[in-house]
Symmetry: none
Subunit: 413 residues, 2 copies
């Protein structure tokens, strides 16, 4: 079987709708994208619904599908966040998203984010990591971006069927919540007990922690409490690379994408210059993609900015971020080896006028050796709707790529 | 309900990719196909993924779907092979693919194919058919092409969860394998016992068989052993014709296609002049199709050659075989009764550059009374990708045909 390779360039949230600020064009239509259009002219295009028409997906779910999993294999946000910050997550682990927060002596939450604390959260996290809850339960804790962190409980007899301690409401004088089991199992009761113990111990320890004493001296709110939410128990997801017998890399600035990639068995590449924003170093990303495809079978390279501009309802800025994506794709296309396909995809639409992810389909494109060209000359939401790939699901699109790589098992004989 | 009829012309493996030897066209684009293009201009076209995008299917699976079954109803290769050589296969039968082989006194396999024996295998098979294993177990055995044969065990308490006796490796001094149960059931243990007994009895009988004595006298290896593999238990598949209350015929040269057709309840027509290759008698096929559609509701007519040329990476020869298909379709179209649709389909793509079945979709077409024409003027992989049927699965395409025949039950009221 002929085995070829694939580079997938992902423009996060690129899909949009016509916007009055840019002449009722979509940002992708409005942007100057000679490289994307050149690939459209030479390749085959279509429209992709990540799950099904009309269903919006999160960045984590979208990438889970783009990396080759089925939507129903979604392991929950916690495990993906943990993987994204480089924690080792094992099947059975209960993973919770956390905030460093400030509470007063009555347990009233003064600030859910401890004034969006950024400094020395690593020192606080290292101290929390030392908390003992039970002989056979491991505690793993790591700071994430700004005031965020991740808690993992590892041991037998745990469950993710537990409530949040985070009251989530704005800081309006509500107390933090005691964690309760959400079903009748002994596992849920035990896990809730452990987590309430964790909250207490963390609070006691943090109240005297040098970083907090210094914050108080500086007139800042101390990060003296850990609010938990979104418990998820890690399922046993076999890496996609292992399932298909291939190797892969992922180049991205965003931790969610890197988390999914590492779950899927892809080697992750990041760099402070890949900011996950419009100032990201596209030349570095492009050269890494070309470098990695020499050794690997499949490389994903991700640009976050279009999504951010969509959330902010900035169609002109979104168009600019798409032009950045266009330049990165151009650099990759110029150096693309003969046996490598270059695919364009997105994890979801983020229409400016909505400011949120929507279920609008996204344009996709495949260019490469012996590709069946279609009649489409431009890469955008309107032209690609008539493309030769038709309308297909995220899983169908990814399987099509795996098929070109010779990795899909024949059914029947 | 208006009840019309359908002829489906199947070009095995016709789907391909642009190939440099023929000006970066696909063989179907490159071929001179006035009849196919005429139907494209007058009919409606689309692209079909037999199961789903990217999934390659075998000829048996592809035809199972084209005849109206769901992919998950695949009964395994053994039963289809048995049906293809004209054996009667009943639900519960355990069917094994076999080779006539040569072993020495220590059970070492000297030749897995007994020098690709072709002569007098029917005489050997007739002798094997007489072997008794148990009072309530029937043995059916029949020679297939060259060194191949099919064994059926029929009786209560049998299982297909048994290992192969065929070591499969090239003839490198390995012994044949004792057959073992593959699960803990008493059925598997019993079936393994029966099959090991079969191997012994067959070996004892074949060692003295006149055909083998003659072979030894001629300095040839005797076919003194039956290697078995791929046990499959026949499921209870109700014929499609019976499910839909219709009648049908299938005209083909290839045993796999004829096997599936007979499973589906279609009367099969073959002839030594229908060779399953490029010298097949297309005029005979066309006239049989027209003759059969007088009496039957649905007729399949099959041309194998494009698949063979794809496997051999012969794009020019593949184009020639497609021209043959075009001529056959032209003959059928000329004599097509007014109430009959003519559909074009394929079981899978066999791109020359790959030399294997791939998951690339295949072009499909429907022409006939009151058809909704689309804008497509040529029947090939690139034009039909923009066709009015869109992209659809094999089951959706076949159901569309059954729908035109008035055979699909209304849901709701």
């Amino acid at each position: 079987m002929l085995q070829r390779k694939v580079i997938v360039a992902i423009a996060d949230g690129i899909g949009d709708r016509p916007h009055p600020l840019i002449g009722n064009k979509t940002p992708l239509e409005y942007a100057h994208t000679p490289n994307l259009d050149d690939l459209a002219a030479k390749g085959i295009t279509g429209m992709m619904n990540l799950i099904s028409p009309g269903i919006p997906v999160g960045t984590d779910m979208g990438h889970l599908i783009l990396f080759g999993y089925q939507p129903e294999q979604y392991p929950g946000r916690g495990p993906i966040e943990a993987l994204g910050v480089g924690m080792d997550v094992k099947p059975g682990d209960v993973v919770l998203r956390c905030n460093f927060a400030t509470v007063n002596e009555e347990g009233i939450v003064l600030d859910r984010r401890a004034q969006r604390i950024r400094e020395k959260t690593d020192e606080i996290a290292a101290a929390i990591q030392e908390i003992k809850l039970a002989d056979d339960v491991e505690v793993h804790f790591k700071q994430a971006t700004e005031h965020r962190a991740v808690l993992i409980l590892r041991g037998n007899g745990l469950s993710d069927k537990v409530s949040d301690s985070d009251p989530k409401a704005p800081n309006d004088g509500k107390p933090y919540l005691s964690i309760k089991p959400l079903d009748d199992s002994s596992e849920a009761a035990y896990t809730a007990f452990l987590l309430n113990l964790f909250l207490e111990k963390a609070h006691a320890m943090l109240s005297d922690h040098p970083v907090n004493l210094q914050r108080i001296a500086e007139g800042k709110l101390p990060a003296n409490f850990i609010l938990t939410r979104g418990a998820g128990q890690m399922v046993d997801l076999r890496p996609i690379t292992e399932q298909l017998g291939m190797t892969g890399s992922c180049i991205a600035g965003e931790s969610t994408v890197l988390g999914v990639a590492s779950l899927a068995g892809f080697q992750t590449f990041s760099d402070p210059a890949m900011t996950g924003n419009i100032d990201t170093d596209i030349a570095l990303k492009a050269s890494l993609a070309i470098q990695e495809i020499q050794e690997k079978d499949m490389v994903y390279v991700h640009v976050k900015a279009p999504d951010l501009m969509g959330h902010d309802n900035q169609p002109i800025e979104k168009a600019k971020s798409i032009e950045l994506f266009d330049q990165m794709v151009g650099m990759i296309a110029q150096q693309l080896p003969d046996d490598v396909y270059l695919a364009l995809a997105a994890d979801h639409s983020t229409p400016c006028e909505v400011g949120e992810h929507t279920g609008d389909p996204v344009p996709v494109l495949i260019y490469g050796p012996s590709i069946r060209k279609d009649r489409i000359m431009q890469y955008n939401e309107l032209d690609c709707a008539h493309g030769g790939l038709g309308h297909l699901s995220g899983s169908d699109f990814v399987r099509t790529l795996h098929g070109f790589m010779g990795l899909v098992k024949k059914q029947g004989n």
